[in-house]
C-alpha cells in the first residue's frame, strides 16, 4: 500500500467516524456536512482522472455535474407530478429510484463528455481550458432559459429519491450511500491509475511524443479518460441534487467548475486522496470561516495561493512527497 492509499483510507475512516459520532451525538447537520464532503469529493475524483492523470485542465466539469443534477431533477419532478417525460411515440415516465437516476445521470454525462471531449481534445493548453469553459457556460445559459424545468429559479424536489432497503431521509442512511459511492469511485480511480490505461494516460501527459512513438494514440486515451471523468462527476451531480432536493443552473456555472478544481488542487492533483482532502478542507473552511465573515472565500483564495506556490502537491503531496515512487 502506498502512502497515498494509506492516507486516503485514513481520511475515509475519519469521514465515516465523524458521521457515526454525529449520529450518536444527535448532530444531523454534521452528518449532512459529511455527506456534502463525500459527494463533492466524488465530483473531484471524477475531475482528478482527467486533470491529475491526464493533465487535462477542464474548466467545464460543471457541465457534467449539472447534467447529473438535472437528470435527477427531471426524472424526479415527473415522478412527483405523475406526468410522463415523453408520451409519444413511446412513454418515458419519471422515477424516484436512485439507482435508475444514477444510471441515467452517469450515461448522460458520459455522452456529453464524449462529445465535448471529441471536440475540445483536438486543442491543448489555454484553448482547451477556454473550450471546456465555453461548453460549461453553454449548458448554464441553456438551463437558465429552460422554463419547463424551472429556468433561472431551479427545480425543487419535495421528497428525496429512494434507495432499496434504506430510508434516504435519514441523514445517516443518505450519508452511507454517498460514502459508498465515494469508496467505489476511489477504488476505481486507484485501479485505473495502476492499470495499463492509467500508465499510458500518465505518460501522455508527460511526453506525448513518446506515447505516439510506442504506437498509442494520446487523443483516444484522453477521450476515454475525459468520458469516464465526466460520468463520475455527473454521478456526483445527481447525488448533490438529491442532498439539496434542489437543482438550479448554478450547478452548471463556471464557479462550480472552479470549485471542483479547487478541491483537487488543495488536496493534491493526481493524488488518489486529493479530492477528498480538498473537498473536506474546503467545506470545513466554508463552515468555519463562513460564520466569521461573508467574505470567507478571500481566505480560501489565500490558502489556494499558498498551496500552489509552496505545496504544489497539495495536502496529500505535503504528506507523501513525490507522486511516483
Amino acid at each position: 500500500m502506498t502512502r497515498d492509499v494509506g492516507i486516503t483510507v485514513a481520511l475515509m475512516v475519519a469521514l465515516l467516524g465523524v458521521a457515526v459520532w454525529a449520529e450518536a451525538a444527535d448532530e444531523p447537520f454534521t452528518i449532512t456536512l459529511a455527506t456534502k464532503i463525500a459527494i463533492l469529493a466524488l465530483a473531484g475524483v471524477g475531475l482528478n482522472i482527467a486533470l491529475g492523470i491526464g493533465g487535462l485542465i477542464s474548466l467545464g466539469h460543471a457541465a457534467f455535474f449539472g447534467i447529473g443534477g438535472y437528470a435527477m431533477g427531471i426524472l424526479a419532478s415527473h415522478a412527483q407530478t405523475f406526468t410522463p417525460i415523453l408520451s409519444a411515440p413511446f412513454v418515458i415516465s419519471g422515477t424516484n429510484s436512485m439507482p435508475v437516476i444514477w444510471l441515467v445521470a452517469a450515461v448522460a454525462s458520459a455522452l456529453a463528455a464524449l462529445a465535448i471531449g471529441a471536440l475540445s481534445l483536438r486543442t491543448t493548453g489555454a484553448y482547451f481550458i477556454m473550450i471546456t469553459l465555453a461548453f460549461g457556460q453553454m449548458f448554464y445559459y441553456f438551463a437558465i432559459s429552460w422554463p419547463a424545468y424551472g429556468g433561472e429559479d431551479g427545480l425543487s424536489i419535495y421528497v428525496r429519491n429512494g434507495f432499496p432497503g434504506l430510508n434516504t431521509l435519514v441523514p445517516l442512511h443518505f450519508f452511507g450511500i454517498a460514502f459508498g459511492a465515494l469508496a467505489l469511485a476511489l477504488i476505481f480511480a486507484g485501479r485505473l491509475a495502476a492499470s495499463p490505461f492509467g500508465l499510458a494516460l500518465d505518460a501522455a501527459r508527460q511526453s506525448e511524443a513518446r506515447v505516439r512513438a510506442v504506437g498509442l494514440d494520446p487523443y483516444r486515451l484522453r477521450l476515454l479518460a475525459f468520458t469516464m471523468s465526466g460520468a463520475i462527476t455527473g454521478f456526483a451531480g445527481a447525488l448533490f441534487a438529491d442532498l439539496n432536493r434542489f437543482v438550479s443552473p448554478t450547478m452548471f456555472s463556471w464557479q462550480t467548475s472552479g470549485e471542483i478544481m479547487i478541491f483537487v488542487i488543495l488536496g493534491g492533483v493526481g493524488r488518489l486522496g486529493g479530492p477528498l482532502a480538498g473537498a473536506g478542507l474546503f467545506i470545513l473552511l466554508e463552515h468555519w470561516l463562513g460564520g466569521v465573515s461573508d467574505h470567507w472565500l478571500i481566505y480560501v483564495g489565500a490558502i489556494l495561493l499558498g498551496t500552489v506556490l509552496f505545496a504544489p502537491g497539495g495536502v496529500i503531496g505535503t504528506l507523501t512527497g513525490r507522486r511516483h515512487g
Partner: protein, 249 residues
Amino acid sequence: MGKALLTVKGVSVRFGALQAVDAVSLDLYAGEIHALIGPNGAGKSTLIKLIAGDLVPDAGTVFFLSEDLTHSPTPVRARAGLARTFQISELAMEARVFDNAVLGALGAQGGAFNPVVRASTRKELTARARAALDRVGLSRSAGRRTADLSHGERRQLEVAVALTLAPRAFLMDEPMAGLGADGTSRMTALLSDLRSEAPILLVEHDMDVVFRLADRISVLDYGRLIASGTPGDIRADPAVRAAYLGDGG
C-alpha cells in the same frame, strides 16, 4: 541484399523558404546499420521525422514492409514495427524506469484501454519490459524514477523502450549524443549487437562511431543526398570530403 524493409523514395519537405529535405531516396536492408551523416542543419533529423510520421512530406513516398506509410500517423508506423529513439530523450520523467519500458510493451500489444487490470500483473507486459531493460543494462535501475537517471542511462532507456516494441527496424536519432567515452562504447556495442534483430537507420555525429558501426553511409547536405555507399566509398568521395569530412577525413 534482398528486399529493403524500409524504402524512402524522393521525399521532400519545405519549411517556408527552406528546402529542408530535397528529393531524398534511401533504403534500409535487414541486418544492417545505415548511418545518416551530414553537417548541422543538413536535414537528418527532419528526414527521421518524415520516416517516423511526425512530418508529412510534400512529395515522395515512405514504404515499410511493402506498405505505403507516407501519410500514416506516427502510432500506426510504430505498430507496424518502426521503433524510434529521440535526439532529446522523450520519456515519462515522473514515472519509474520500469513503467517506461512497460509503456513500450503496451504499444506493441496495440492496446492500453483496460482501465481496471493492474499493469504490474500483466505478465506478458512485465516480462517484455524486464527483458528490454536487461538488454540495455538497466535492470538494476528498474525501480528508480526516470528523472533521477543520468543522461547516459536515459539514452539507454530510450533504446530499451524501442526494444520493447519488438521492432522490425530502428530509427535512432543521435543515440550517443552527450555520452562519455564509456557510454559511447557501451552504446556502440549494443547497437552493433541489435542490427541482427532489426536494422538501424542511425543519425550520428560521432564519425569514429559511424565508420566503426555502419555497413552503409548516406550523406546529406542542404537537404540533398550527396553520397551513399560503404564507409570506404564515403571516405574516398571528394564531394563528401569537401562538404563535411574535411581533407583529413
